[in-house]
Symmetry: C2
Subunit: 262 residues, 2 copies
């Protein structure tokens, strides 16, 4: 399984990804899922991937081959992030075309997805999510983050804390906690964790970090977080319990008696 997320705020981008991949529970490996295709000073392009590894690796290989061959319209030629997203979607479709029928006839899940974040000089930073079908959507001010893979466990912390006005440092901490929540609940998501923080208009990546298993910083923020969460509980008011006598079944909303069928 995989969990990758991207956050786009007024101040820039944060992208983070785990590194586990598995085919069944008895074949688990580590594989990098966040890649930097930047050309400092001119464009920053970050790509992360989730889903079928044979599909995502093929897509990224085609992207790299286009770069190597200086193909027309490789990701360094395209003038906008929108067109880079279109290009990536096209490459996803190319790989799907080659494999889909073979995989479908054996009911193998060929789905894959990508996050594409970055900035091209002259444009604002952008964050896109590209689907298995090659279509894509864009992070907005209202929903400034996008996730791929095992997305549910790590979503509540994002919903409660991230807005377009969030400082980048806070967004990065939130991304780590979102990954940490996911790793705690799903053992098929795990370290190393790769994370990049990009400041709007800097046009180069200077903040990146890789956390290995049992990283002291990860342990520290997990402990600090769990302590804060427990303290926060103490501050919450208790609910106003209704002290209903369950012996008076008729007045008790929980009672099943009034819907016993004839």
């Amino acid at each position: 399984m995989t969990y990758c997320l991207g956050i786009k705020t007024h101040f820039g981008l944060v992208m983070a990804a785990d590194s586990l991949t598995n085919a069944g529970v008895d074949y688990v490996s580590k594989v990098q899922k966040l890649f930097d295709f930047s050309r400092p000073g001119e464009r920053v392009i970050l790509i992360s991937n989730a889903g079928n590894l044979s599909m995502t690796q093929n897509v990224l290989t085609l992207v790299r081959r286009d770069i190597k061959n200086q193909a027309e319209n490789d990701i360094y030629d395209l003038p906008t992030m929108f067109e880079v997203a279109q290009y990536l979607g096209k490459r996803v479709r190319d790989v799907a075309d080659q494999n889909r029928n073979w995989m479908q006839q054996d009911k193998i899940d060929f789905s894959c997805s990508f996050l594409l974040g970055g900035q091209i000089k002259g444009e604002a930073p952008e964050l896109y999510m590209i689907y298995s079908q090659g279509n894509f959507l864009r992070a907005t001010k209202e929903t400034p983050y996008l996730q791929i893979g095992e997305i549910k466990y790590g979503k509540p912390i994002l919903d409660r804390t991230i807005s377009y006005e969030t400082q980048l440092d806070d967004a990065a901490k939130c991304a780590l906690l979102s990954l940490d929540s996911t790793m705690k609940s799903n053992i098929s998501v795990g370290p190393p964790i790769n994370m990049v923080m990009y400041e709007t208009d800097s046009l180069e990546i200077v903040h990146q970090v890789k956390f290995f298993d049992a990283d002291p910083y990860l342990n520290k923020i997990r402990q600090s977080w769990e302590q804060s969460v427990k303290q926060a509980f103490q501050q919450l008011p208790s609910p106003d319990w209704q002290r209903v006598d369950t012996r008076e079944q008729e007045d008790n909303w929980l009672s099943p008696s009034n819907i016993i069928p004839d």
Copy 2:
């Protein structure tokens, strides 16, 4: 969709459930999913349900009919919670037997699940989860909570805070936050929220509460929680960013250059 959870600690039980049900996004209704079948002083039995509503309603109707008919081995006759769980599993199988083939041929999801919490005089409190197939498992000291329905959004808060030694009041607040996280991320889970807190050996339900939409208490704990979460962020140390010059692509772990294929 549905989200129900049960927590069993040293001090008793907490059970909570939302009340939305839907067939597609264009047919959403409210339906109670947590029921109290207690006989105060003798046994406390709480049941919540998730999954196909026609299945869960049928199961509970059979349970109530057995009570009404004073059938042999209704839930008031059975001597242990283990046997109540077996009985409920048997009723799930009865309803599945009647409907499974008809539903399967049209690919309708007939799955359903139940949480069963309570205490019978002379026994310790128990918490069980009953599957669509009628088999069941039991909450333990190591994993003192069980969930059914849309379980992922609300799991991290449980994993970070609940242990077998958690006070009941804290477990109840945590259950509400777990529900609140789920409602925030999945609009097909929603109020009214029913919640019951049961103290070990009291053998009656005296703490129960029902929260309707826009309940002031729910708003208050949501606000208080989000404020605490934001404060907690401020206290987290920043990661130790590696200031890698991405222009030196060879030394950069993010670089895709070293795996560009020939």
